[in-house]
Symmetry: C2
Subunit: 440 residues, 2 copies
């Protein structure tokens, strides 16, 4: 299978996915950040700062919290104290604030029993309010499936919270072995290997490596991903997946031939030297994989796809700039970091809607967007409420609507490369999409 | 604080700890592993293999499991099929088997209610037997503390199994915020930042960075690590710790000034693009940190240190080659990969004792050892049973005992650099150590 074949995933992984983002975009920036004293020219206290620099130093002094444990300078010997570490860090933060890429994390406790609702603590850690979540990677709500939680709970009771070691030093449980077998079977491979995160060794030349992290659980008859859907799994030599998105837990894995897996297991430093995943999480993941392999999984996937289609159609009909993309994640282009953040903040504080503004470095500068991830558990009514309030906020911050985005390219008039709703599907939702469109 | 000051940790981290091992030892090997087709000269099928190579190919063919999903070769276009990927991987595995560094993971389900006991599934995944575990990083048994498990369970019920996103995209919960505050307080710093594993950015020149991963929870009045014990925390600019060892959960963190933490949070790719830790694990970790800060923590630490001293004394008195090291982990030098594995296997299969043989790449070749980690929950009787059976096995595989290792260096006669038991402490254990020594 070539990469073009899994276009859903390619699009999604390269442009929209914070958690699997190719890191090229930030490498340059990070390299600059870590530049040593010789590169950055912040004047010393002994000097005579003036103009902009003086101004900056004053701002920095004011921004410091009143009580700090210590300044980094305090520990430096006199001979090397010419480099103002504290100011350097403050300056880097200030740069992000100035170009609106500084991130303030929204603090939300997702509620298992009323998915996709959450308690929002962003304004205050003492008072909370209920919000709907529209940007989670828990695409099917599996993190709170009763059988998943039941498996975690039983394992927690029997075996405790942690694994207590690396895989080689007391950190391999039967849950690890069972889950690796289940995952190998899911992808039709000899063997699979679990990682604590989606770190995998790319270390192997011309072999076909396909990253299915956003597709596993969501596509194919058994949830095996795009390869499963397109019937090309035997052509994929190494498949990487995650337990942290559609499967609702945490961790990553690869599946391949037994000799390749055994080689990675035996040689890969990132695997050898890492604390093993807790058995209770693996018990939950095992249950989740099994559920999504079954008829219940197929029902969930159909509902998921239907909700994505409906949501996309509603957004397009309302004239919002939906990025052309066949993914289950719907990007709406804002193309302005400050306004993007403002939309996100307004939706959260006024309308109890949480959709995260995606700014640099997750997307290139100038391509800022809202990334909407409907699940099978978002109702048409919730979508309607979402759209109404997005439109109000959109206009309020000074963004424009197009008269109507059609299901074809505005320039070449060819059909878009993703499936839109059929007339029959539209009627299924009782004209909801048209209704919303008319209100815009 | 300079690195020499925390000699306990230095020793432990560099020589004995798989999970924080400096990776220099394996870099070369890994680089060789990932060598491309042009470097490795395995002959093609079309050629005329003979001698050793022919022999090797025959072995490889025989070692292949009867049913495999596919061979990597099958997917290669004819033009590049000259490189035998499958054989290459099989060869790398074979190399490890030949030099006895091939790892067969012991499969053990640790039992929460009878810590440090576990169900061993290593011989068969169907039948199990109970074994005692002597090599876990769950140093104080916190992974099964009722309050830790209770916190995990409540959070699982309320919020489900996973976090559902990166920290920026719906993956920050109040549990993240609370735990980061608790950890900052533990280390007397402005701020702390959680990581999914002990990955941390080393990105910052002359600032003092101290890795306390094996010391947090175990040293100091509040379990803040060696810096806490020695009263030098304000001198340490960045402290890294883990939630996966003494705290019994999983994940890592750094604590430092707020501007440094905010810079890492805003710029570090390894933080930005990683799925957030599940709230339920953080709730457990928070409870664990709080317990170990309290009087209960101080009791556990005293019992831990006392057990380590007793165990070390017993091993030395019996004439086993205990590596001179003041750590809470006791290394016994075997210096032979094959015999080391044999000792480990025999103890497990015949005597129901699990202590992991530590071979390359965790330790340099020729410095293979057993790494014994007593907890506060290992009883003197268990230690006695352990020692008796280790001695039997030790002789059985052809290893030698010294007449008696004293508490002073065999050459210079100076006292060893770690605390041994006082006479009063020895008497506390009713002469157990001497008893065992006499039996040897």
């Amino acid at each position: 299978m070539n990469q073009r074949g899994s276009s859903v995933f390619c699009k999604a992984s390269l442009e929209l996915q914070e958690d699997v983002q190719e890191m090229n975009a930030v490498r340059k920036e990070v390299a600059e950040t870590s530049a040593g004293p010789s590169v950055v020219s912040v004047k010393t206290d002994g000097g005579d700062p003036s103009g902009l620099l003086k101004n900056f130093q004053d701002i920095m002094q004011k921004q410091r919290p009143e009580r700090v444990s210590h300044l980094l300078q305090d520990n430096l010997p006199k001979s090397v104290s010419t480099f103002q570490y504290d100011r350097f860090f403050e300056k880097k933060i200030d740069e992000k604030k100035n170009d609106h890429t500084y991130r303030v994390f929204k603090t939300v406790n997702r509620r298992a029993h009323i998915f996709p609702m959450a308690d929002d603590y962003s304004d205050s850690l003492i008072t909370k309010k209920q919000v709907s979540v529209w940007c989670s990677n828990d695409y099917l709500g599996m993190s709170r499936h009763p059988r998943v939680c039941g498996a975690v709970m039983d394992t927690l009771k029997q075996h405790g919270a942690g694994a207590g070691g690396t895989r080689n030093i007391s950190g391999t449980s039967k849950f690890h072995v069972d889950l690796e077998r289940e995952l190998a079977d899911l992808h039709g491979k000899d063997a699979a290997l679990l990682f604590s995160s989606c770190f995998v060794a790319h270390e192997f030349g011309a072999i076909t490596f396909v990253d299915e992290v956003h597709a596993v659980g969501l596509y194919g008859a058994r949830g095996g991903g795009i390869g499963d859907r397109d019937g090309v799994m035997p052509k994929m030599d190494i498949i990487s997946g995650t337990l942290g998105k559609a499967f609702g837990c945490v961790g990553g894995y690869i599946a391949s031939t037994s000799s390749l897996i055994d080689t990675v297991r035996s040689y890969a430093a990132g695997f050898i030297f890492t604390t093993s995943l807790p058995p209770m999480l693996l018990a939950g993941a095992l249950e989740s994989v099994r559920i999504l392999k079954s008829a219940e999984g197929r029902v969930l996937r159909r509902q998921h796809q239907r909700n994505v289609k409906l949501m996309r159609q509603m957004l397009m009909d309302a004239g919002l700039p939906v990025v052309h993309c066949p993914s289950h994640i719907i990007p709406v282009r804002v193309a302005d970091a400050a306004k993007n953040t403002e939309v996100c903040d307004e939706l959260m504080s006024r309308h109890n809607i949480y959709v995260q503004a995606i700014n640099y470095p997750t997307v290139p500068r100038g391509e800022e967007l809202l990334r909407i991830a409907p699940t099978p558990h978002h109702t048409p009514q919730m979508m309607n409420y979402f759209l109404e309030n997005l439109l109000v906020t959109w206009k309020q911050v000074g963004l424009e609507l197009k008269p109507h985005s059609s299901a074809e390219c505005n320039f070449c008039r060819r059909p878009l490369h993703f499936e839109v709703m059929s007339e029959r599907e539209k009627s299924y939702f009782s004209g909801l999409s048209k209704l919303v469109s008319a209100q815009a």
